[in-house]
Symmetry: C2
Subunit: 338 residues, 2 copies
């Protein structure tokens, strides 16, 4: 039983630092691409057999210390009554949210009824894993989900959601609050179904300065962590977190997952021993020379020290990553000793 990840989340001693990769079930794996040729992305998320299969691929092929179930952060958004399309260029949402009437129309879905496949996938994975490595559940955080729902997809300037925040904050808060309830129930359902850790992705909250983060993102992350309680460790990921790291500590997260732009040494200095840290190799290093990648991985491991660190990337692994490089990264982590 490899429980290093759970121990690292709780800042308990481990024989070596656990390692996994965000978006580890993905296009860099030939075995994943083979399955995706036969099935659309959202259909794959809803197919218990195939979703469980692709979730397990990185464990079997790359040898990671944890399995994250295959899904998409927009699954609960779709269950709220929003039409979601996932294209190769990212998500597209018809009829982006712009009015109170539109927010009021959104359902707060019962995850067991509306997204039962999520429970099935997690249960299947717990069976298959049989305690070998921990199973990670996840969800998008309200600010990040709202950004897709209001922008109608990905964005560069986040002008629509921020325009709403600064023009009609009450409207945005009503959406964020509904999302916080939805995500709380969704994560509780994942935990009941077998998730042993949960990661909340507030990927785009790093677009906000600290004041705005504390007004529009943090309260909803806190609400979710309050609602799900302390039964499993909670990880919070934000891309571009260096401006809001101290505020993230106030979220109640057990682990802060940080992007590659900040050094782990600085993240440690600024967070003290309040939280464990996850990260933070630049995923682009896996596209480069082996030596440079491993030197940086070693630096991260050294700066983080042996306690309360989960080695990971600073953002999701990129589709063009050579699988040998992903394996070399994981193998290196497994042989590294403090």
């Amino acid at each position: 039983m490899n429980d290093r990840l759970l121990r690292a989340c709780r800042r308990e001693p481990v024989d070596r630092t656990p390692v996994w990769m965000m978006r580890q079930a993905g296009r860099y794996l030939k075995e994943y691409r083979d399955i995706r040729q036969k099935i659309a992305f959202l259909d794959l998320c809803k197919n218990t057999d195939l979703a469980a299969e692709v979730s397990l691929q990185p464990y079997r092929i790359v040898g990671v210390d944890a399995v994250i179930f295959f899904s998409d952060i927009l699954i609960p958004v779709e269950a709220m009554g929003v039409s979601v399309t996932l294209t190769d260029k990212g998500p597209e949402i018809d009829d982006p949210i712009r009015s109170q009437r539109h927010v009021d129309k959104l359902r707060t879905p019962d995850p067991a009824l509306e997204t039962p496949f999520v429970g099935s996938i997690l249960k299947r994975l717990r069976q298959e894993l049989d305690g070998k490595v921990p199973l990670i559940g996840f969800a998008g955080a309200p600010w990040t989900l709202a950004s897709y729902m209001i922008e109608g997809g990905g964005s560069k300037s986040f002008a629509e959601i921020k325009g709403m925040a600064f023009r009609d904050p009450k409207l945005l808060h009503s959406l964020l609050d509904k999302l916080a309830s939805t995500v709380s129930a969704y994560l509780l359902y994942q935990i009941e179904s077998g998730a042993q850790v949960v990661q909340l992705f507030d990927t785009w909250a790093g677009e906000l300065n600290r004041q705005d983060y504390e007004e529009f993102a943090l309260p909803y992350t806190q609400k979710i962590f309050d609602n799900i309680g302390r039964r499993v460790p909670r990880i919070l990921y934000i891309n571009g977190c260096s401006n809001i790291l101290e505020s993230m500590c106030a979220s109640g997260a057990d682990v802060l997952s940080v992007d590659w732009r900040i050094s782990i040494a600085e993240a440690r200095r600024r967070t003290g021993d309040r939280v464990a840290l996850q990260g933070n190799l630049d995923p682009c290093l896996l596209l480069g020379a082996r030596e440079r990648m491993l030197a940086k991985a070693a630096e991260i491991l050294q700066q983080a020290g042996p306690l309360g660190h989960i080695l990971n990337l600073g953002h999701g692994i990129l589709p063009p990553t050579p699988v040998e490089n992903a394996c070399a990264f994981i193998d290196f982590a497994k042989t590294f000793r403090h």
Copy 2:
């Protein structure tokens, strides 16, 4: 003669803080859109009469304290022999750079011969302004220009340029070095043609952590600032600068232009009195309620204090900005007293 901006760059006393807006000659102005209906973007950059006209529009309509000449950072890249198309979705570059042979083929253009319209526009603007407000020249910094040239356009992950940086740094350095020479000559030509301040846009250098910034971006910014010398104040802008602010200080810039994610108070604390600061209102605030925007502008002015500050946005003004809000921002800055 309004020389507040020049005085603020040199940290000399001013009666009030000067203010302008990045991308102030742009689509939020009806007068600009009227001209753009008749002429393509790159053609506008090369038309002395019309480029001078749109450069002056924000001075006449919004009342900014400085005029920046209308152009695009990819103008010198095109002069190097790269085929550039500017679409509504951003720049597109045919045949992205991937090899040493390709880098070697690039010219280091003589700006007076290859981009004479830049000199004409600047000279015209100095005449028209007749000393009323200072004239700003600008260029893209090597890392940012290289990112467009290697990615083939805008990017989310910067996987191509970073992949090259981490796989074949020598190749990337050869391109960056050629760009540094090109940009140095280009800015010197702008200064000779009448630019009284220059701003270097290293917009995407905030994607790098500090080590990588110091390896792939900073040396070329330093080289450019060394080459152009101290005859005019030099401003350095980076979006997402909070992780590399101290390194930016080492560039030799007189002014650091910071994005909205960091507070001006923190930027001051971390840079001391080594540099002046420019910024940093979130451009999305100009899409929101007047009260919130002005409260934040007041906070920025207060935190920055009276010396060595140029009020600006943290990134370019957004096309959907109501012109009344831009005017309200500028008017407020002009009435604010410390």
